[in-house]
C-alpha cells in the first residue's frame, strides 16, 4: 500500500511537471483595487489534479475553504482586502507551492484622461497641378467621478478658407452617464434617416435620456455665410435712369447664405424593444448674411450694346467703392444664383424588436415643405388663392378658403410664396365630390413625401431582410442633402450561415423605379438579382468567394421619338448586365509564410434593342479583370507583396464606333522592421502599361519610414515618384506625406 502511495505521488508529480499552473488573477506584481479581489488559477491540461489536495494561502492564512476547486481551476472571490502587498501560495499535489504577490490600492482614480496630437503635411504634384495641405488634429478625452465623460475633436487645416465652408473642426462633447450628451461646436447629429442623418452642424447638439423618455435637440449652422471671391462677386448690366443717365446695375454673384437649423426628436421607449419618435427639422437661409455692397470687390468695366457709363474707362478694373453713384445695387430677389431657401421637415418613426431582437421592424415617414426663394417674404391667403386657382375667389378646388389661416401669419415657421416646391403638397383633384384622383394614390404619390419600412428576422443562422422605401422627387431636407430623391425601391435578401459560419450563402433581389407621381408615363426601373457563396473551410485551407449579379435597366421608352424634320432620336434604354466575380485566397507556409490571392471579374452589358441605327452610341460593353497577389512574410522579418492586374475592356467610343482598351499594372512592395519594430522601412516599385484607345505607361518608385521614436511618439513619412507617358507626352507625379503623432 505504501509503495502504491509513493508510486502515485511520483506519477502525480511527473504529470504535474508536464504543464504548469496558469495564474489568471491577479497578475503577479500587479496593482489592483482592494474591492472584489478574484484569486484564480487554471490547471487546464494538467493531469492528476485532485481538488481535495489543493491548498490556497493568502498572506500565510489558509483560505481553501473559501475557494472553489476542481480539476480545471481554483477560484476565490474576496469582498475586500486591505491596501498593501499580498502574497498568494497554492499547493497542488506533492510539489512545492506556486507563489506570487500583488498589491491592492484604495479606490481607483476619479479623473482619467488620454489624448492624441497628430500633425500631417502632404504635397501632391500631379501633372501640372500641385496641392499642399498641412493639418493638426487634437483629440482629448477623459472621464471624471465615473459619471462624467468628455471629449474634444479639433482639426486645424490649411484648407480652411473664407471662400469655402469650414474645413477646420472644433468640437467638444460632455456626457453625464447615459442621461445627457451635449456637443458644442462641430458635431454630426443623427435624428432619423430622412430628417438629419450625420451632416456636420456647428452649434449645439444635445441628447437627453431618462428611462423611456428621449429628447434630442439641435440648433446651429449648416452653412456659414460666404461672400465669395471679390473678383467675381458682381456681374453687371448697363441701365438708364429716368433722367437718361447710364449706370451700372450690379448683381451679387458667388455667395452662400448662412443657413441656420433647428431640429428635434422626441422619442418614447428605450429602443431595446420599442421606440416611437417624432421628428422635425427647420432650416432657413439668412438673407441678411450676404453683404449687398462689398467695397473691396472688383469689376472689369467694358461698355456693351446698350451704351457706356460716363466716367468709366473700358478695360479698367474698378473697386465697388470707386464706382460711387455710377453703380446701383440690385435687390436680393434680382440677384443671380440660387435664392435663399426655407425648409421644414416633419416626420415620425417606429422601431420594434421582438424575440430577443431576432425580429426587428422599423419604419419612418417624413414630409417636407421647401421654399426655393424666400426673397419678398410670404404670400397672403388672397394672393395664394389667385395664384393657384383664380376662377372663384375664396375657393381652391372644393375647399372654402375663408376659414383657412393666412400663411403670412406663419412666416416664422415657413415662408409660403410661389417658390414653394411643391406649392400644394397633395394633388387637390383627390378632394371633393368630383374627385378625379383616388385619395390613397394621391397620398402615396405626394411629391414631397418620403417613407420606408424594414423587417429583419434572424432565426437559425438565417438573416432575412425585407425593405421598402420611397423618396418623392420634391422631398428635401437641407440638413440631409445627400439623400437620393425620386426613387422607389423594395428589396429582399437572405443570408444563410452554415457549418459554423464556414459556408455562407446570400441571395438578394432589389427593384428600383421612379414611379412615384401619378403623372409618370415612362417609368425608369432597375432589377438587381444577386447570389453570393463564401466558403471559409478553416485553417490551412483556401477560402472561396463567388458573387453573381444580374442587373436589368429600362427607361420605359419603347419607341423612337420622331422629330419635326422627319428624323428621329433614339432615347430607348433597355440593358442587361451580368457581373461575375470569383476570388480564391490561400494562406500557406512554404519555407516562409505566404498569402496568395486570385480574383477574376467578368462584366458583360448587352443592349436589348437590336434595331439601332448604325450611328447609335451602343451602351453594350464587356470587361474582364484578372488579379493575382502574393504576400510573403519571411523569418528575417521581411515582408514583401507582389500584385499583378490585367484589365481588358471593349466598349463604345462614339456614334457607331467601338474600341478596346487593355491595361496591365504590376507592383512590388517590401517592408522591413529594425530595432525591435521601432523603425519600419518601406519601399516599392510599380509600373503600368495601357494599349488600345489610349496608349500610356508609367514607372513609379515609392519609399517611406514609420519610426516609433518613443512609445507614445511616432513619425510616419512616405514619398512616391511616378513618371507617366500618355499619348507621347511625359508628365511626372510626386507625392510626399509626413505625419507626427503623440499620445498621452
Amino acid at each position: 500500500m505504501k509503495k502504491n502511495i509513493i508510486f502515485l505521488a511520483l506519477f502525480s508529480s511527473i504529470l504535474l511537471s508536464q504543464s504548469d499552473v496558469l495564474i489568471m488573477s491577479p497578475e503577479p506584481n500587479s496593482e489592483i483595487s482592494g474591492h472584489d479581489v478574484l484569486i484564480a488559477i487554471s490547471t487546464f491540461g494538467m493531469k492528476g489534479i485532485n481538488p481535495n489536495n489543493i491548498q490556497l494561502l493568502l498572506d500565510g492564512e489558509d483560505i481553501s475553504d473559501l475557494a472553489y476547486m476542481d480539476e480545471d481551476m481554483v477560484t476565490c472571490l474576496l469582498d475586500q482586502l486591505d491596501p498593501g502587498l499580498h502574497q498568494i501560495q497554492i499547493f497542488i499535489g506533492g510539489g512545492g507551492p506556486k507563489t506570487w504577490s500583488f498589491t491592492t490600492t484604495l479606490r481607483e482614480p476619479t479623473l482619467k484622461y488620454s489624448g492624441r496630437i497628430r500633425s500631417s503635411s502632404s504635397m501632391d504634384q500631379i501633372d501640372d497641378q500641385t496641392l499642399n495641405i498641412s493639418q493638426v488634429m487634437v483629440n482629448f478625452k477623459g472621464s471624471a467621478y465615473e459619471w462624467m465623460k468628455f471629449k474634444t475633436n479639433v482639426k486645424i487645416t490649411t484648407q480652411e478658407q473664407a471662400l469655402y465652408q469650414p474645413r477646420n473642426v472644433l468640437g467638444f462633447e460632455i456626457a453625464l452617464k447615459d442621461y445627457a450628451t451635449i456637443n458644442v461646436g462641430d458635431s454630426n447629429p443623427r435624428l432619423s434617416h430622412f430628417t438629419m442623418n450625420g451632416k456636420r452642424i456647428r452649434g449645439l447638439n444635445a441628447n437627453i435620456k431618462w428611462s423611456w423618455f428621449n429628447l434630442h435637440f439641435v440648433q446651429g449652422e449648416i452653412n456659414r455665410a460666404i461672400e465669395g471671391d471679390l473678383k467675381k462677386a458682381y456681374s453687371y448690366s448697363i441701365d438708364t435712369d429716368d433722367e437718361g443717365t447710364k449706370f451700372l446695375s450690379l448683381s451679387r454673384n458667388g455667395y452662400t447664405f448662412e443657413q441656420n437649423v433647428m431640429a428635434g426628436r422626441l422619442a418614447l421607449g428605450r429602443g431595446k424593444k420599442f421606440q416611437w419618435g417624432l421628428n422635425f427639422m427647420k432650416a432657413r437661409d439668412d438673407t441678411n448674411s450676404v453683404t449687398q455692397e462689398l467695397n473691396n470687390a472688383e469689376i472689369v468695366y467694358s461698355p456693351d450694346a446698350t451704351g457706356s457709363v460716363s466716367g468709366l474707362d473700358s478695360g479698367v478694373v474698378y473697386t465697388i467703392s470707386e464706382l460711387g453713384t455710377k453703380a446701383h445695387y440690385l435687390d436680393g430677389k434680382n440677384w443671380a444664383g440660387d435664392g435663399p431657401k426655407d425648409n421644414l421637415v416633419i416626420g415620425t418613426d417606429l422601431g420594434i424588436s421582438l424575440f430577443n431582437k431576432r425580429l426587428r421592424l422599423d419604419g419612418e415617414l417624413a414630409l417636407s415643405m421647401t421654399n426655393n426663394n424666400i426673397w419678398g417674404g410670404p404670400l397672403t391667403l388672397a394672393q395664394l388663392d389667385t395664384m393657384i386657382d383664380d376662377s372663384v375667389d375664396n375657393k381652391l378646388s372644393s375647399f372654402d378658403l375663408s376659414s383657412f389661416p393666412d400663411p403670412a401669419d406663419y412666416e416664422k415657421i415657413l415662408i409660403i410664396n410661389p417658390n414653394m416646391a411643391p406649392l400644394v403638397p397633395i394633388d387637390i383633384n383627390a378632394f371633393g365630390d368630383n374627385a378625379t384622383v383616388d385619395l390613397t394614390d394621391a397620398v402615396l404619390s405626394m411629391p414631397s413625401l418620403a417613407y420606408r419600412g424594414r423587417a429583419i428576422t434572424n432565426f437559425y443562422g438565417n438573416y432575412l431582410a425585407l425593405e421598402y422605401s420611397q423618396v418623392g422627387p420634391e422631398f428635401n431636407s437641407l440638413a440631409n442633402p445627400y439623400l437620393v430623391k425620386n426613387k422607389r425601391e423594395w428589396s429582399i435578401s437572405d443570408k444563410f450561415k452554415l457549418l459554423q459560419n464556414r459556408l455562407m450563402l446570400t441571395l438578394g433581389y432589389k427593384y428600383q423605379d421612379d414611379d412615384i407621381l401619378t403623372i409618370v408615363e415612362k417609368i425608369k426601373s432597375q432589377n438587381t438579382l444577386s447570389l453570393g457563396v463564401n466558403a471559409l473551410p478553416g485553417p490551412g485551407l483556401p477560402t472561396l468567394n463567388f458573387t453573381y449579379r444580374s442587373i436589368g435597366r429600362d427607361n420605359g421608352t419603347t419607341e423612337l421619338v420622331q422629330l419635326t424634320d422627319t428624323t428621329s432620336t433614339d432615347n430607348r434604354e433597355n440593358t442587361h448586365t451580368n457581373n461575375v466575380m470569383v476570388n480564391i485566397n490561400h494562406r500557406f507556409d512554404l519555407i516562409w509564410s505566404h498569402s496568395l490571392s486570385g480574383t477574376f471579374v467578368d462584366v458583360a452589358k448587352e443592349d436589348k434593342f437590336s434595331d439601332r441605327a448604325d450611328d447609335f452610341v451602343d451602351p453594350a460593353m464587356s470587361t474582364q479583370v484578372i488579379n493575382i497577389s502574393l504576400t510573403t512574410r519571411y523569418t528575417i522579418p521581411l515582408k514583401t507583396s507582389f500584385n499583378f492586374t490585367a484589365n481588358s475592356s471593349e466598349l463604345s467610343t462614339g456614334p457607331g464606333q467601338r474600341g478596346t482598351q487593355d491595361f496591365l499594372t504590376a507592383n512590388f512592395d517590401a517592408e522591413y522592421p529594425f530595432i525591435n519594430n521601432l523603425l519600419l522601412v518601406k519601399g516599392g516599385i510599380n509600373m503600368a502599361r495601357g494599349t488600345g484607345m489610349v496608349d500610356m505607361s508609367w514607372l513609379g518608385f515609392k519609399g517611406g519610414i514609420r519610426w516609433r521614436i518613443m512609445d507614445d511618439f511616432s513619425l510616419n513619412t512616405q514619398g512616391e515618384f511616378r513618371s507617366k507617358k500618355t499619348g507621347g507626352i511625359n508628365k511626372n507625379t510626386i507625392i510626399a506625406r509626413a505625419n507626427l503623432e503623440y499620445s498621452f
Binding site: 504543464s19 496558469l22 489568471m24 488573477s25 496593482e31 472584489d36 478574484l38 484564480a40 487554471s42 487546464f44 491540461g45 473559501l66 472553489y68 476542481d70 480539476e71 480545471d72 481551476m73 477560484t75 472571490l77 469582498d79 482619467k112 488620454s114 489624448g115 492624441r116 483629440n139 478625452k141 472621464s143 471629449k151 475633436n153 452617464k177 447615459d178 431582437k357 429583419i456 434572424n458 438573416y463 443570408k495 450561415k497 459554423q500 459560419n501 455562407m504 446570400t506 453570393g532 457563396v533 463564401n534 471559409l536 478553416g538 485553417p539 477560402t543 472561396l544 468567394n545 463567388f546 458573387t547 476570388n583 485566397n585 494562406r587 498569402s595 490571392s597 512609445d711 507614445d712 499620445s743
Partner: protein, 223 residues
C-alpha cells in the same frame, strides 16, 4: 460569506467539469449569462466558469472580462453587447471562437498553436492567431476591427472580400458589402475606454541617492 455561498451555488449550477473553457474575472454593472442547454438567464459573477456556447449579455453600463483557461486569452465586453463564447477542448488546448451578435468587444488573444481564433459577426468573420484588437459590431451599420497589435484577416461575408489588418489599422466592414482599411484614429477607439485597451501603463524610474550613499528608486506609473 453570503457572496461566497452565491458564487459556489452559481458555480455548481452553471459549470460542469468537462466543458469549462473560460473564467469570468471581472464584472461591472448588469451582466447575464445564458446556458445554451436550458436557456436559463442568470447574473454573471466574477469567478464563474464559462462553458462552450454560453451566451453573455451586458446591460447599458455593463462590463465583463473573461479569460480562457488554456492560454489566458482575454475577452472584454462593454455595455449593450451580445456575445456567445465557444471553445472545443482538445488536449491541452481550446479551439476558440466568438460569435458577436452586436456590441463592443476588446480581446487580447495569445498566439494560437496551429489553430485560429475565429470571430464572427452578422457581417464579418475574422481569423485571429495572436493579437490585441477591438471590435465594434452594429447590425445595420457594420463592423469595425481595430488592431492594436498583431495581424488578423477580416472577411466581409456579404461579398466574400478579405483583407489583412495590421497593427495601427482599422477595417470597416459593412452590410452593403464594403470592406475598407484605414489608419486607426481616436474615433475608432471611442467607447473602449473602460476596456483599458488604448494606452498601456507607462513607467518612469528615477534613482536617487541620499547623503549616506543609499540608492532608492522612485517609480511613477501613468497612462
Amino acid at each position: 460569506m453570503k457572496r461566497i455561498l452565491i458564487l459556489c451555488l452559481s458555480l455548481c449550477s452553471i459549470s460542469t467539469a468537462s466543458s469549462k473553457i473560460a473564467l469570468t474575472i471581472k464584472v461591472n454593472g448588469k451582466v447575464f449569462v445564458i446556458d445554451e442547454a436550458n436557456s436559463v438567464k442568470q447574473p454573471l459573477k466574477p469567478g464563474t466558469p464559462l462553458k462552450d456556447k454560453d451566451k453573455i449579455l451586458t446591460g447599458k453600463n455593463g462590463f465583463v472580462a473573461i479569460m480562457y483557461l488554456d492560454d489566458k486569452s482575454v475577452v472584454k465586453m462593454l455595455g449593450n453587447s451580445d456575445l456567445t463564447v465557444s471553445g472545443k477542448r482538445s488536449g491541452t488546448q481550446i479551439n476558440k471562437s466568438l460569435d458577436i451578435k452586436y456590441g463592443k468587444i476588446a480581446a487580447s488573444i495569445s498566439p494560437q498553436k496551429g489553430n485560429e481564433f475565429r470571430i464572427a459577426t452578422p457581417t464579418s468573420v475574422a481569423s485571429v492567431k495572436g493579437t490585441e484588437l477591438t471590435i465594434d459590431s452594429q447590425p445595420g451599420i457594420g463592423d469595425s476591427f481595430t488592431l492594436l497589435e498583431g495581424l488578423i484577416e477580416v472577411t466581409n461575408t456579404i461579398t466574400g472580400e478579405s483583407t489583412e489588418v495590421e497593427n495601427g489599422e482599422t477595417a470597416i466592414s459593412t452590410p452593403e458589402g464594403s470592406l475598407e482599411v484605414h489608419e486607426t484614429t481616436t474615433d475608432d477607439l471611442a467607447g473602449f475606454e473602460d476596456a483599458d485597451v488604448e494606452i498601456p501603463t507607462q513607467e518612469l524610474r528615477f534613482e536617487v541617492e541620499d547623503e549616506d550613499g543609499n540608492i532608492k528608486e522612485i517609480i511613477i506609473r501613468f497612462q
